[in-house]
């Protein structure tokens, strides 16, 4: 069936769909932040982040994630410039940095477990593990999607008219994951 003109917003389906998805994710993480605020305000005492958590490691992770946001937006720029090698390079760095984030995170978690600090230990740790854990799951999801794009881009994907858009949408999701961390980092570690 040929494509007839349609009534449309002018925003491609995939982009609109991605923003709608991100809106729902905003509500998801907002709920976690609400819970954090309510439980912290109600608590008789609450540890200061720098006393119990590893600020240097988390700062490193913040740098890592911000850099990965830059590399993924550059990856998209390279797709628009039809620079296949450039895309692969920047997407590779994005994935590398993402893994780096997870590795640093696992060091943090391991250290906590070694000191017998688990989610059940206190309400503080419950919040810490649950919010960073859910964020981590979102990082993993992003890694899978970005890796998929790299593989697809190496093959048929590069010529597919939908490819550039999907790289852009992957970027939107990834920036959102970065934004969540931008709030999570001070909220848990620095206050």
């Amino acid at each position: 069936m040929e494509h007839a003109p349609v009534e449309s917003t002018g925003i491609p389906n995939g982009k609109l769909g991605t923003w709608l998805f991100l809106a729902s994710e905003v509500m998801l993480f907002a709920t976690l932040f609400t819970s954090y605020i309510v439980l912290r305000v109600a608590a008789p005492s609450w540890p200061r982040g720098w006393d119990v958590l590893n600020v240097p490691l988390a700062t490193l992770n913040t740098f890592i994630l911000i850099t990965s946001s830059v590399t993924i937006v550059m990856a998209h720029a390279k797709v628009l410039e039809k620079d296949k090698a450039g895309f692969r390079r920047y997407m590779f760095f994005t994935l590398l940095l993402s893994f780096g984030f997870l590795i640093v995170k696992s060091f943090e978690y391991a250290s906590k477990f070694q000191h017998h600090h688990y989610p059940a230990t206190s309400i503080f740790y419950a919040i810490y593990f649950t919010t960073t854990g859910l964020h981590g799951i979102h990082v993993i999801g992003g890694i899978l999607f970005n890796a998929g794009l790299m593989i697809w881009g190496a093959g048929d994907g590069w010529e597919d008219p939908l490819f550039a858009g999907r790289v852009e949408y992957a970027g939107l999701y990834w920036h959102f994951v970065d934004i969540v961390w931008i709030f999570l980092f001070p909220a848990l570690y620095l206050l």
């Binding site: 509500m27 008789p44 850099t67 830059v70 720029a77 628009l80 934004i179």
Partner: protein, 114 residues
């Protein structure tokens, strides 16, 4: 359409790098401020302000919101509005209930309360 976007993308790369720099600087600032060990209220205010600035930079430039259509702004505006409602009510409720909450590490206070 992609040619048009590629042309403007080259100009955007410069912006990305500037934003990158700003984000790094702001991250350093927020960590340094935390070393001051400010009282919670002030610390939260400053930390939130810096985080909001960083998030706005990512959203505006990396996520291309600066050049996006009004419908997306509307969707985000609606979402943020409901998000604020979601934040506000449990916090207000919690504040209202505060006098009735017995703290588990201060049982003596509980007796005084009765």
């Amino acid at each position: 359409m992609s040619d048009h976007k590629a042309h403007s993308e080259a100009a955007h790369v410069k912006i990305y790098m500037m934003v990158f720099g700003a984000l790094m600087v702001l991250t350093i600032v927020t960590v340094l401020v935390s070393y001051l060990h400010l009282p919670p209220a002030l610390g939260i205010l400053i930390g939130l302000a810096i985080a909001t600035t960083k998030a706005s930079l990512v959203a505006t430039f990396f996520m291309h919101l600066k050049w996006e259509r009004r419908l997306i702004y509307g969707l985000l505006g609606l979402t943020v509005f409901f998000m604020i409602v979601l934040f506000a009510v449990p916090i207000v409720d919690n504040h209202g209930l505060k006098p009735n909450i017995i703290h588990y590490d201060q049982p003596a206070a509980e007796e005084a309360h009765h």
